[in-house]
């Protein structure tokens, strides 16, 4: 059962798309000020969970509360940041234009030039989004999620497509965010990412939590986190 100081708290969440059940009684909590990782195979319901938390999908059953308010509440607008898995950007916009535009929606945004410099985007700041590499697009998406100085950030596979240098730089940034009191919930396929960053891990399969705990708790029997993941999740045929 999630604790009362959860920044994110979902209970018995059920989401159905037609006859397909994507979330099937999912319950988890993300503690305030912590980094929570949600691991799961493709189709486990990770992105749908984030979409429920950001109010984009209304669950068929169950509840989702974010920062103490019902998910999707207008009172939350601006308090949360989102790094979506898909591009999250107009294809023809320049990186700096997108970030300046997003910054303009907030009263106290991060300074865009410094954010661009921090994420290593200085050389491609004027490049249209569609011409950026996959890793650069991810970096722009991450900057877009952070520019409004949110209390809570949802990161949907934040380092997918990044090279090892960019991944490590991103991990460093996420650790700094946590040290500054930002709560984060990230989804990932990368076991090393969860091991390096997560205070709490939820392994999700078939739309429900299969097992959860700290990395130390999950691996106390000497198994690797990947081995725990493989034991508690099912392979799906590639689609």
């Amino acid at each position: 059962m999630p604790s009362p100081d959860s920044a994110v708290r979902v209970d018995d969440l059920v989401v159905r798309f037609g006859s397909r059940t994507v979330l099937d009684g999912l319950a988890l909590g993300a503690k305030t000020g912590a980094l929570t990782a949600v691991l799961g195979p493709n189709g486990a319901g990770k992105t749908t969970l984030i979409r429920c938390c950001t109010g984009l999908i209304r669950p068929s059953e169950g509840t989702a509360r974010v920062l103490g308010l019902p998910a999707g509440s207008r009172m939350l607008a601006g308090r949360i940041g989102l790094m979506p898995q898909s591009a999250g950007s107009w294809s023809g916009i320049r990186a700096i234009e997108l970030l300046r535009y997003l910054a303009g929606l907030y009263a106290n945004p991060l300074p865009v030039p410094a954010l661009i410099e921090r994420l290593g985007l200085t050389d491609c700041a004027k490049t249209p989004y569609r011409r950026l590499s996959g890793g650069q697009q991810q970096a722009v998406n991450l900057a877009g999620a952070l520019v409004g100085r949110p209390e809570l950030v949802f990161l949907d596979e934040p380092t997918a497509g990044m090279d090892p240098h960019a991944r490590r730089a991103t991990w460093l940034l996420l650790r700094e965010l946590r040290a500054n009191g930002v709560t984060m919930l990230l989804t990932t396929h990368a076991m090393d990412e969860a091991e390096a960053l997560a205070d709490q891990v939820f392994i999700v399969d078939g739309g429900r939590v299969a097992i959860s705990g700290t990395v130390r708790q999950l691996t106390k029997s000497g198994e690797s986190l990947e081995s725990v993941f493989l034991t508690h999740t099912r392979a799906r045929a590639a689609s």
Binding site: T54, G78, S91, Y106, A107, A114
Partner: protein, 253 residues
Amino acid sequence: MTALDLSPAPAPAPPAKRIVRHGLIEARLLIRNAEQLLLALVIPLAILVAGRFASASIGSLELLGPSVLALAVWSSAFTSVAISTAFERRYGVLERLATTPLGKPGLIAGKALAVIMIMFGQLVILAGAALGLGWRPRFTALSAVLAVILVILAAATFVCLALLLAGRLRAETTLGLANLIYVVLVIGGALIIPLERYPAVLRPVIEVLPTAALGEGLRAAANGQLLGWPVLVLLAWLLAAGLAAWKGFRWTS
């Protein structure tokens, strides 16, 4: 490297500023899109020039002037908005914006502002070109006011229809369908061709189309006449399309 203060300090910008920022970025992106510029300016200008030099077969400038203004409203408020919104949905732009302080009402208001800015530019350029080519409209003060009301009602209706299309269908389907509907109603919707030139049997159907209401209403207004039925037709369409878009729009694909 400049140090960043990463501590949380979330606060939305004032609503008017958010809407203006969104309107400006959308307008800028639309202007950069060559295909949209073709629909917005090149085709209407070509029709005007054709009317100037081949009025016997194309129609006189007295009719083509207001017709081309109606065409500009149709292309910017329907086709451009449908295609751009469909790809915003496909690329996850709408998903990202849903968590920002802009929100759904701000997004709609920002889009409306972008359409108004683009339309204003189009109407100035096209009306200027038409006047330069010899168009001499006979607007009265009252008919000019009615024309402005018709343009606003039609633009709002077309935007709602565009959002309904873009919010339900795949981006590629929206792209094809929005262009098809654009062409079909340009030819068959009494937008640039006066209603009286269509076969009598089709007229009752065509005159309840929003494109016919705008086209006929503007042509009459430019001739100093006041028509009431186009206002009623557009109000009915706006109500229906607005409700359908509000209920049916989906942020994610």
